[in-house]
Subunit: 336 residues, 2 copies
DNA sequence: CTGTTAGCGCTTTCAC
DNA sequence: GTGAAAGCGCTAACAG
């Protein structure tokens, strides 16, 4: 099965004329080895092209230096950023990332935890969609520590990082702060139980601004063409709004491009802000302001916590809540 | 480091009153074990919650049932589809996928191969950007088999899957076949050494159609707004084109939405086709026709070959070239 | 400072 | 059919 006849620590020891413990010390950077010996051994390692067999090492140390990243579906648009950030932290700590899709399928998801041991991993970062109660039970049984992203229950025996769900307020706040007074809404009224639309209505109220039904363009599909349609709609109002809060970035991009193709200026005439901060926000002219859900940050933090816990399982579990972050770009504030 | 005191094969053996060899036979489905014994052992396994230690097993068998997927950058937009397809095949074969980003950095990339052994993997699917010559040398030294995607050199000791680079011709062919005669081009003239633009020009020529400079809209950034601009430009021509070949899907989406917002019908008045077949093509109205680079297919094939090779290293290396696939959607052919 | 020794948990001949 | 025993390649006491 193996082409090249693997060279082992014994081969090195023999070739360098020392014992394998000495070789072991050297490859593990254990101090207290005579420089001469170290040199001889290193040369032998070099010559023979020796690389330690991780299986054997892990069998001894119980440390596999791998963690699993278990998410619902890799095709989820947030995944790349999450995985990228997670991988960076893992790499810094000399860990590798194993990828698992559980497809939001509770049984698969739980299987991930159950089989953790099968997986050559020391811990799992889990972006779960399961019911928290069920999850709690399973985490308790898992063979390795778990760090959770997003789904959370009081007594879960795991580190956790999540996001405060006030993105809508952050976006609205921004528009109001930059002096806009006739703010429109484009998007649906159902996403996340209507949270974004609710934020629109309530932000207006708490700033004593009038709610005007005609400033709401409802389109269920949060895609670019909904935004384009919204732009056309707003354009033909008697009084054009001076700002648009879009339920997500796709809509915001559509609104922005739509308004521009109708001859309006963004942000001078109309400011536009979206939510989610997808990469595309920076690929348009003007670049679109947005509210980031810090998915990368969550990945980073989850992996950090996990690795810390792998090093010391006795620490108290941490619960970290992040605030969505406003990213100001050209669609709301003219850049120099 | 481990919370739960791992239960081993010896514990099971003792509890079932058999030897560990018998337990081993049972967990590996070796035939020739008395049903009664099998039953007793299985019950013990169940009761104790035993799961075999993969490290120990691998140390013996040399099979880790993991493969690495090494790509330039997980944030590359093709990655999710590639990884998803790869993971499906891996899973079917009871393999897991480990993720490695090499950032198109040749040294990182080569390191991936060199450290293959360190990685608990039995093989590597590599999407390389390194110079083929260098790559060849390193592959020869790699401890495990490699399957290559995209980059290729005659004497590489690896299975390989790639794509024929005629996407442009496929797209043009489609427009011509559906009877369009006044075909415009939107995009840049430099991508892939200008291959797409060249395909435009040459396709016209080989069908004895006139090349008309005014039907070419050049925008370097292949993004949505370039498409919107192109739409405006074509709209104001004396004679509007009856089809647009866009250098990529983003431009095609922009062109389509732009034309529609100007009151034209797609595909009745103008047919639009893009290239790359990004997921967004199906998120717009009308859905955009495109040419797929079969990135998922390549991932699938690469993993399949790799797993076959892991099972038998002696087979001859395979070179597979895929043809880009036309995906007809609403932007070129009216759907019922 | 270095070598000897005893496993880690499992698979796999080889006997019985 | 089943068990005993010998490692897989490495680490980690423990001596010396």
């Amino acid at each position: 099965m193996e082409t090249k006849p693997k060279v082992t620590i014994d081969d090195v020891a023999k070739s360098a004329g020392v014992s394998k413990s000495t070789v072991s010390r050297i490859i593990n950077n254990v101090p207290g080895v005579k420089p001469v010996t170290r040199f001889k051994v290193n040369r032998a390692i070099e010559e023979l092209g020796f690389t330690p067999n991780i299986m054997a090492r892990s069998l001894k140390t119980k440390l596999r230096r791998q963690i699993a990243l278990a998410i619902d579906d890799i095709r989820n648009p947030y995944y790349p950023e999450l995985a990228w950030a997670a991988e960076q932290v893992a790499k810094q700590n000399n860990f590798r990332l194993v990828l698992i899709n559980h497809y939001g399928n509770p049984s698969e998801e739980l299987a991930v935890l159950k089989e953790a041991n099968d997986m050559h991993v020391d811990g799992i970062v889990l972006l779960s969609t399961s019911h928290p109660k069920t999850l709690t039970k399973v985490i308790k049984k898992a063979a390795v520590p778990v760090a959770l992203i997003g789904n959370y229950e009081e007594d879960m025996p795991a580190d956790w990082v999540g996001l405060r769900e006030n993105e809508g307020y952050v976006a609205m706040d921004h528009l109001i702060r930059i002096g806009r007074r006739r703010i429109a809404y484009a998007g649906n009224t159902t996403l996340h139980r209507g949270a974004r639309y609710t934020a629109y209505v309530q932000s207006l109220a708490s700033h004593f601004m009038e709610f005007n039904r005609s400033l709401v363009y409802t389109g269920e599909r949060l895609a670019i063409d909904t935004g384009l349609e919204a732009a056309r709609y707003f354009y033909h109002l008697n009084e054009i709004p001076d700002a648009v809060f879009a339920a997500n970035d796709l809509v915001a991009i559509g609104v922005t491009q739509g308004l521009i193709s109708l001859g309006l200026r963004v942000p001078e005439d109309v400011a536009v802000v979206g939510i989610d901060n997808i990469p595309w926000c920076t690929l348009t002219t003007p670049k679109v302001s947005s509210v980031s859900n810090l998915v990368g940050e969550m990945g980073r933090i989850a992996v950090e916590r996990l690795i810390l816990r792998i090093g010391d399982e006795s620490k108290a579990f941490e619960r970290i809540t992040l605030e969505p972050r406003l990213i100001v770009r050209e669609s709301t504030v003219k850049q120099i």
